[in-house]
Amino acid sequence: MKFNRFLVLILSVATLFVSACSKSPNSTASDTLNLNIGGEPTILNPILATDAPSSEINGLVFSGLFRINTDMSIVPDLVATYSISTDGLTYTFKLRDNVKWHDGQPFTADDVKFTFDKILDPKTNTVRRSNYLLNGKPIQFTVVDTHIITATLPESNAPFLSNLCMSIIPKHILENQDINTATFNRQPIGTGPFKFQKWDTGQFIILVKNDTYYLKGPKLGRIIAKIIPDTKTALVALEKQEIDSGKIPFKDIEKYQNNTKLNVHEFEDLNYTFMAFNLKNPIFKDIKVRQAIAHAIDKKGLTDKILKGHGSPAHIPAAPISWSYPNNPTFPIFEYNPTQSARLLDQAGWQLNPATKIREKNGKQLSFTLITNQGNQDRERSAQIIQQYLSAIGIQMNIQLMEWSSFVKRINSPTDPKPFDAVMLGWSLDIDPDDTSIWHSKEYPKGFNFIAYNNLQVDTLLDQGRKTIDQNKRKIIYSKLYTQIASDIPYIFLYYPNVITGINKRVKGLSPAGPAGLFNPIENVYIQ
């Protein structure tokens, strides 16, 4: 017995040694790019998937009629040339005729019609249907020839071209299958620069170069998309050169700027964080209260403490890098001025109770609950700092962190009024500035206008902005829109966080940093 135990002991120690020595081979193969997609993709089908990891893979495997260029303009991809009728309602697209699916079949206009038919089919579990329904009427796609297709719109729609960046799926594979459960969703076939090779659940996905790509072929031979959900682990992997690119948290940026193996890229994104008021709540109905809160928050202080200066204060619902951001700002900026806040609250009738240090009016305390989702450390910390700012002017803000699914349920509750006081959240903006779903009064309570914002002028401006095709004219409309929204203070716009990415120096051919930059277009990227 004793001898047996010894044997076991020696064997275990030996295994320990051996396994400690068998480190993975250094992945510096000169044709392989190692990425971290941050989580397990759900569905590798572009019309069904909504999560970021799936979208990242789909972006490499599929292509759409149009795509977004490095400078955030929309350029043709599968489309060769196109024309628009004078009334702006009929688009004619001539498709490239040299495109092949990864299984060798030719790409035709039938695939395009099939894709949009599937999206419009109610049996398909997609959230993108409303993009192709204007005023409840579907956009009609008609196949004219093998490589010519037309789209007829029921009304003029500026975001239409950006919605045509939708990836196309193959008719010949999917036409007789239930698209929601097809095995295609785990073994995709597309027309993009990379082909799907392998998916090890929970581990990684391997893509290989598409040799028959219709544009200039990719310089990389292989992309390994690893699944490392934990940010800390991902950073360690970046340092160990197990992945070539990774997001760097604000607090760690100094550490990585001097790293000899990495280049640190920083860029502004189409993204803003905000605090929203439920405008049906009696406390927030009074605009003086909202103004007071706006003056009580030091936005610069927030960007300094939370973002370490890597970001800027926000005042309107558009990001500075968007073309719609006004060049000559006319919108109001609420400077940090707690004295002004106190004055406004006094005027509004909220008197400070010296015992509780909380303001009161007609026996009611100026107290509310802010909900936000768990798991976003920056937002949690912002909430706690704002809590302190408000407590300094006599407002008691309680913070409630909620699990994501319950949180979404609460905000999207189709009831009127909705069951919350205030929310802290962030919006990830689309390339097209039309945000009708957030601000239009018809989007309450069933859309994303969950604060019951109702301003007729804003509604009109939103409709005009969406229907006007000329970009210069649109810019003027949006400038008026932003000024109006900012003055109404339905949200307190907090900040635009920058994105900081560390990329291994061996990766070359990157585009300038930006929300559509760096690895876009992927065909130019290579390893040295």
């Binding site: 800390k232 798991g375 913070i399 699990e403």
Partner: protein, 268 residues
């Protein structure tokens, strides 16, 4: 265990209970205020902050003491709930026997068969996590062992001659149950309670770590560990200290429970 170790356990536990009470009554520390020294990074242990600060600049010692209050309270109340339920069910089941007994035991089997942590997760996700429902959920899923224990004690006690005598004398069943049988069950129940409290604290810390327990800005040792994840390399004390506190508290409870159990063993 040696007497000295047991004595240390009692003293530690007493300290864990008394110190937070004194500190909060006298308002000696502020676990939610941000340190003036804070510049954006957690501060390591130094003279102003004996245990350093967390990632928002709040004094860690203050938060640990606050966390003690919450973790111990959650432990105590959940265990009271589970022991309460277990006691009642066990008494009824053991004393009355028959169909009631079978039903209750089946119920126990059912609950034992459902994967508990899973169940707790689902329930917590269903309710908005807060201190109160953490206590309720742990209490409502830990009563099974106590029920079986109490039932076994009752069955043994039922056979004793003085019970038969009492029945012969015409004393009502309820009186027999509460006046004569119940006291016999108390000893093992107290042991179960002490040990159960340790287990409740472990479950609460796991739930809070997953974000489904006590919510920030309230401090519980478990959710302090969740906040420490991003700072494991920069501020390891944020990860080490709350864990040590949990371990020492549960350890003391286990040692005390063991001690009590041995004492009963010797006497029976």
């Amino acid at each position: 265990m040696t007497m000295s170790l047991t004595k240390i356990a009692y003293i530690f536990l007493a300290g864990m209970i008394i110190i937070p009470i004194i500190v909060s009554v006298l308002n000696l520390t502020n676990p939610t205020s941000f340190s003036p020294l804070f510049t954006g990074d957690p501060i390591c242990p130094c003279s102003e902050h004996w245990l350093g600060t967390d990632d928002l600049g709040r004094d860690l010692l203050a938060r640990c003491i606050d966390g003690a209050k919450i973790s111990l309270a959650v432990g105590a109340i959940s265990v009271s709930i589970s022991v309460g339920i277990g006691l009642i069910l066990g008494l009824i089941s053991g004393f009355y026997g028959g169909i009631i007994d079978s039903l209750i035991m089946r119920f126990v089997d059912l609950f034992l068969a459902i994967p508990t942590l899973f169940l707790i997760l689902i329930i917590q996700v269903m309710l908005t996590p807060s201190i109160f429902n953490v206590m309720a959920v742990i209490g409502l899923t830990s009563w099974m062992g106590v029920t079986r224990l109490v039932r076994a004690e009752v069955l043994t006690a039922k056979q004793r001659p003085f019970i038969t005598a009492a029945k012969a004398r015409g004393i009502s069943n309820t009186t027999i149950l509460f006046k004569h049988i119940l006291p016999h069950t108390l000893n093992p129940v107290i042991v179960a309670a002490v040990l159960g409290m340790g287990s409740a604290i472990l479950i609460e810390s796991t739930l809070s770590f997953l974000g489904l327990g006590v919510q920030p800005p309230n401090a519980s040792w478990g959710n302090m560990l969740q906040g420490s994840l991003a700072y494991m390399t920069d501020a390891p004390w944020m990860t080490i200290i709350p864990g040590i506190l949990i371990t020492m508290t549960v350890l003391s409870l286990n040692i005390i429970g063991d001690h009590l159990r041995n004492a009963i063993f010797k006497n029976s």
